[in-house]
């Protein structure tokens, strides 16, 4: 395995501050601290070449985990390693074998033209000339860097900057790349271009990716496996298909009925009418209790059907449920699902 996290835990300690003038004055002298458990006993393994979605609501502990794996933060307890190196003990060694893309901040040099940033990175990572030339040629083509490679980074659009950031993160051929919300703020076309580039790099170079994002379309299009964390704890680790099967029990059937029906109802347990707009009626049904077949047959008996569509549950809807309610199962059960 290329990435290993074992019982990874991180506690942040912050000075307690009181409210108002008196509070501020007392906090000047008091030594009260608040401990915040950002990551709690998280374990997972990644095999080389995996592309894993690491998701969770804001403040779940995603970034903290990434920062421990990149060697910036020292775990309070637990262990982790990347390609056999313990990141925080050997930050510089680890730095050579990882690439990082932050959607929210750039690693390019603000004042310099994009090309100069690449040249500087070449010196920082000691990239051999042939590797540098080859990678530059490829990235320039695939990411269409040509149009803005001489432009200072501060004048680039977000989409251009992100393309530059991706090239910068991969220039030294890192076997492991961390992506922290890489598509945030991008338009649909730019998002698609970035996703394609990630998929391509993963496929052709076998680069291992951990993808942190709030855009579940990223995850759905790119990853087979997701790890969900919330409140610092791992909730789920497994295939997206499995979580869809397990939690996406509710499906939606939309029927278009010929002729008017004032109040269409289907008296089958497990089926609930959601809405009706003229001849279009939507039903929600529990896949485990009623099959789509049964529902259509029952409908056809009562009404003249013109059209029927069934929609799969969106990953987003499932994840939203999980964030709000939790898994509703014990952690070991969630483990067994995988």
């Amino acid at each position: 395995m290329i990435i290993r996290a074992e019982h990874l835990t991180k506690t942040f300690r912050t000075r307690r501050r009181g409210d108002g003038v008196m509070g501020t004055l007392t906090s000047l002298f008091s030594r009260a601290y608040d401990d915040k458990l950002a990551v709690r006993d998280v374990s997972f393994d990644l095999e080389p070449g995996e592309l894993v979605g690491y998701i969770g609501p804001n403040g779940a502990g995603k970034s903290t985990t990434i920062k421990m794996l990149t060697g910036i933060l020292v775990p309070t307890s637990g262990e982790c390693s990347v390609n056999g190196i313990v990141p925080w003990q050997n930050r510089t060694q680890n730095g050579k074998q990882i690439g990082v893309v932050f959607g929210q901040r750039t690693q390019l040099y603000w004042d310099l033209p994009l090309k100069e940033s690449f040249e500087l990175l070449r010196a920082i990572y000691g990239i051999p000339a042939d590797v540098y030339e080859r990678n530059m040629a490829e990235f320039t083509k695939v990411l269409a860097l040509d149009e803005f490679i001489r432009t200072p980074v501060r004048q680039l659009s977000l989409g251009q900057r992100m393309r530059g950031d991706f090239a910068a993160a991969l220039l030294h051929n890192p076997p492991v790349v961390f992506l922290d919300e890489p598509t945030i703020g991008l338009d649909v076309v730019a998002k698609e271009a970035i996703r394609e580039f990630i998929a391509r790099t993963n496929r052709e170079r076998g680069t291992t990716f951990i993808l942190t994002t709030h855009d579940l379309n990223d995850v759905e299009k790119l990853c087979d496996r997701i790890i969900i964390i919330d409140h610092g704890q791992k909730l789920y680790d497994g295939r997206i298909e499995a979580i869809k099967r397990r939690y996406g029990r509710q499906r939606i059937l939309v029927a278009e009925i010929d002729g008017f029906c004032a109040d269409c109802e289907i008296p089958i347990p497990g089926v609930r009418k959601l809405s009706q707009a003229g001849a279009r009626v939507s039903f929600e049904f529990d896949r485990e209790r009623v099959s789509a077949d049964e529902l259509i047959v029952a409908l056809a008996k009562q009404y003249e059907l013109k059209d029927v569509t069934i929609s799969e549950p969106e990953l987003e809807a499932i994840i939203r449920e999980i964030y709000l309610k939790g898994l509703g199962v014990d952690a070991p059960v969630a483990e067994a699902l995988t």
Partner: protein, 265 residues
């Protein structure tokens, strides 16, 4: 440690500074203004009080003018960027790279300082229209002066680095910074030569303080207050302080790095 990235950092810092052209002119202008004002002040003081502590008026004006020129390079404070990086969290990016951040900052400061030293040439030239400057006491003194400036730069850099590294623990260090700046400007001899301090314990402390290694050491050598074997001990003391501050700064950095709290995202 590979040296190449740091050479590149210094080069980039040098050319980056070159893009702020107006800053160069205002810098030089403000130095000239202060050269003029200080020469007036010292002339007036000397007229009323006569020669002080064995420093003649021309030597004093030379001292004050060179101190202002040294300000151009000592005032760079390249370590300041660390504070900004820690405050806004972009230090994360630097920490992810296979480089030593303190040495990256040192390289950047060297680049900036080299650019700043180029400003010294026109500033010095123009100062000569305003004031008379004594030549260095001897050729040896001139050489020792340059070495002492270099060592003063190192001490000054590590002092700045120590101050900036404290940001790892407390984000607000403006008050401490002001205090250290005040003490430093007093004890380094940048405003008033330490020879003017009342002889006794205070003067001894001032001479012994690490701040004296920044301005006092090179300037005393230049005006010939420190000669012969004393030059060697002065340079030696600077080396010791450079070493001590270096060890403290890098040690502090190691500790800070271990308990870094990244701001935001």
């Amino acid at each position: 440690m590979r040296i190449r990235p740091y050479v590149e950092f210094a080069k980039r810092a040098f050319s980056r500074e070159g893009t702020y052209r107006t800053q160069v002119f205002t810098h030089i202008g403000s130095v000239l203004l202060r050269v003029f004002l200080l020469s007036m002040v010292w002339t007036a003081l000397y007229r009323n009080n006569g020669e002080q502590a064995g420093i003649t008026l021309p030597a004093m004006i030379t001292y004050a003018t060179l101190a202002l020129l040294l300000d151009l390079i000592y005032g760079v404070n390249g370590a300041y960027v660390i504070r900004e990086k820690i405050r806004e969290g972009s230090i994360a990016i630097d920490l992810m790279r296979p480089i030593s951040v303190p040495f990256y900052v040192l390289a950047d400061t060297v680049g900036q300082t080299l650019f700043a030293s180029m400003q010294i040439i026109p500033a010095l030239g123009l100062s000569l229209f305003i004031v008379h400057l004594d030549a260095p006491a001897t050729l040896g003194a001139a050489f020792a002066f340059l070495v002492a400036v270099l060592l003063g730069f190192v001490v000054n850099f590590f002092l700045d680095l120590i101050m900036a590294t404290i940001t790892f623990w407390t984000m607000e260090i403006f008050g401490v910074q002001l205090m250290v700046q005040f003490i430093s400007s007093l004890l380094s001899g940048s405003l008033v030569p330490l020879y003017f301090f009342p002889p006794g314990i205070i003067q001894q402390l001032a001479f012994a303080s690490p701040f004296a290694a920044i301005y006092n050491a090179p300037l005393s050598i230049y005006i010939g207050k420190v000669t012969g074997l004393q030059i060697v001990t002065t340079l030696g003391t600077q080396v010791v302080w450079a070493f001590v501050f270096g060890v403290v700064a890098l040690g502090l950095w190691r500790l800070g790095e271990r308990q870094v709290v990244i701001q935001g995202g």
